[in-house]
Amino acid sequence: MTNLDSLFYPKSVALIGASATEEKLGGIVLKNLLGLKGRVYPVNPLYPELMGLKAYPSIRDLPETVDLSIVMRPAAEVPEILRQHAGKARFALIVSAGFAEIGASGLQEELAQIGRDAGVRLVGPNCLGIYNPCHGLDTMFLPHSCLKKPGKGNVAIVSQSGAVVVSLLEAVRRANIGVSKVCNYGNAVDLDAADVYEYLAGDPETRVVISYLESVGNGRRFIEAARLLGDVKPLVVLKAGKGTSGQKAAFSHTGRLAGSYEVFRSILRQFRVREAPDYDSLLDAAKALSCQRPAPGKRVCIITNGGGAGVLAADECMRAGLDVAPLPEPVKEILGSSFPPFYGLGNPIDLTGQVRTEDYRVALNGVRQTYDGFVIIALTAVAGVTLKLAEIVRDFRTEAGKPVVAHVAQGGISGKLTTLLEKSKIPVFPSPERAVRALAMLLRDVG
């Protein structure tokens, strides 16, 4: 078990390669660090002071051993800088690029050895590092003017890729959810996904973990950490690099068939680790699992005011392994006595273009006991759908305590309705299919 408190909640941080201006990466990170709930030591031999903080010529000159040192110097200088870290830092986060990702594996291996000898845990190289809004920690060299990061929340993001983590940060903010911890560990010379999973399993701020991976190093250790994390909170993995042609082994038929992605996917399923097939699904899973907790069952009821959108949702349920069970006769009778004869009393329940907002309440109350999860489709181009719907769905979810997702589209009040629903922790998705796939992430018995 790795304790990463010093990495995610450092009491003191050194920045090697700090700079005076936000024109430079070392200045952007220093500016970010001014918000840290802890002590910050800029290191740069050329300045006595940077952004109002006393600067130091080298890490050896710091008055204390820091929890975290951020290294932002050219790759060739990093080994020597790292040697100076012995006894002066617990974690060194190497932002610098120019290692294994460009073929300089020897230089990267040198870092690993120096880290082991110096007793310093390494993050990176070639990474953006850590964002922990609870602690004011932001090691990412992205100016606030370019990227507005999400605020505090319950989603942790663990990503091998820096570019993907930045896109996810933007997307998560737009999805009206917040983050607990974000970690981009880059080339993973030391710290990797498994270490972070172990830590997040015990992190009370984190309810759901989404993770972008290209490779996992030691597969057995990875799957063990993923399984243990998945036992305590939802972990959703997106594996990139699916198109590999299999391990070249002319002798063995099995070897030829064992493409690295096929093996990875099978093993995730063997240990019941959830996989997102693509970027959108990863994001949608984060949103759904951030808002609501997974529940048992797989019977789904779709309530719509547009036939086509309902059929699309039902089709996706079938693909996702969800059960669009027909309405029981007694429920049909109750709804039939409340609704006009032209409403569709099946599953989907079609409230048609002549819907009145209150009809959703009647339908939901009628099916509450029968189903495990609910898809609400609200197409707002008709006059009958009002903002009152947000309140109806919120009340229903409070009473039912079961997963509910929504698809809202067609303009008019759709933006306002989406905001109101998401404030009430009903995640809203831009297509019927995405709403259904998100619901599948909330239902545990989908197989």
């Binding site: 490779s215 597969g219 057995r220 099978s266």
Partner: protein, 223 residues
């Protein structure tokens, strides 16, 4: 004897061979209770024993650790119906390049063909594979993998992970095939792989019946 002991004994008997010969792999498998066709190995340059106790029809296959696909090089004779045919088949196959001998076996009755394999994955180490044989695997890559070793329950799960696994459970009124028998083979292959001493195992095909399973071809190599 533990599985590891059995594997180690086998490896010792193979001296410095990297890729093992079919009849020896099959004997090794029989040591775990896995069924293979009745047969005999005729080393190159030796005569077929006169007291052949096998029942016709027979199949004859060239045995060589240097040939990866026997049928591609014409190294297999099927439907051998009598002693004359057997002698000429064995003589021809004995003359093949790299041939070390000929394996003569009773021809198995037709079954549903599946594949059980094991390989050492670069990321995950020993893994076990199940797939449907014939065109299912060639065309659809309908295979599934699991970390080795697997339990019996996981082996049954692994079968169900393939699309074609449904066929085994009885499709369109056909009776179900012996999933227990194939699960036993999967468990054994996974346990052998999990010793970390073996690079690959290929049981392809395995003929699966309403009752029982028969490994028709078997390859194995050392890590």
């Amino acid at each position: 004897m533990t599985i590891r002991d059995k594997v180690q004994d086998f490896l010792q008997s193979q001296e410095d061979r990297e890729v093992f010969r079919e009849h020896e792999v099959k004997e090794f498998l029989r040591g775990f209770g896995i069924n293979t066709p009745r047969g005999m190995f005729v080393p190159s340059g030796t005569a077929i024993p006169s007291t052949v106790s096998l029942s016709y029809p027979l199949v004859a296959k060239v045995v060589s650790s240097g040939i990866s696909s026997k049928s591609d090089v014409g190294g297999v004779r099927l439907g051998i119906g009598n002693g004359d045919e057997l002698r000429s088949a064995v003589t021809e196959l004995s003359l093949m390049e790299n041939g070390e001998g000929v394996l003569v076996e009773e021809m198995a009755r037709p079954g549903f063909e599946v594949i059980v394999g094991g390989t050492t994955d670069i990321t995950f180490g020993p893994i076990v594979m199940f797939g449907l044989g014939g065109f299912f695997v060639e065309l659809f890559r309908d295979v599934s993998f699991a970390l080795a070793p697997v339990t019996r329950e996981q082996a049954v799960w692994l079968v169900g992970e393939t699309k074609g696994g449904k066929v085994l459970k009885g499709f369109r009124g056909k009776p179900p095939l012996d999933i227990d028998a194939i699960a036993d083979i999967i468990v054994t292959v996974s346990e052998v792989m999990a010793t970390g001493l073996i690079r690959t195992i290929d049981l392809n095909p395995v003929a699966l019946y309403l009752s029982g399973a028969l490994v028709l071809d078997a390859k194995m190599s050392r890590l």
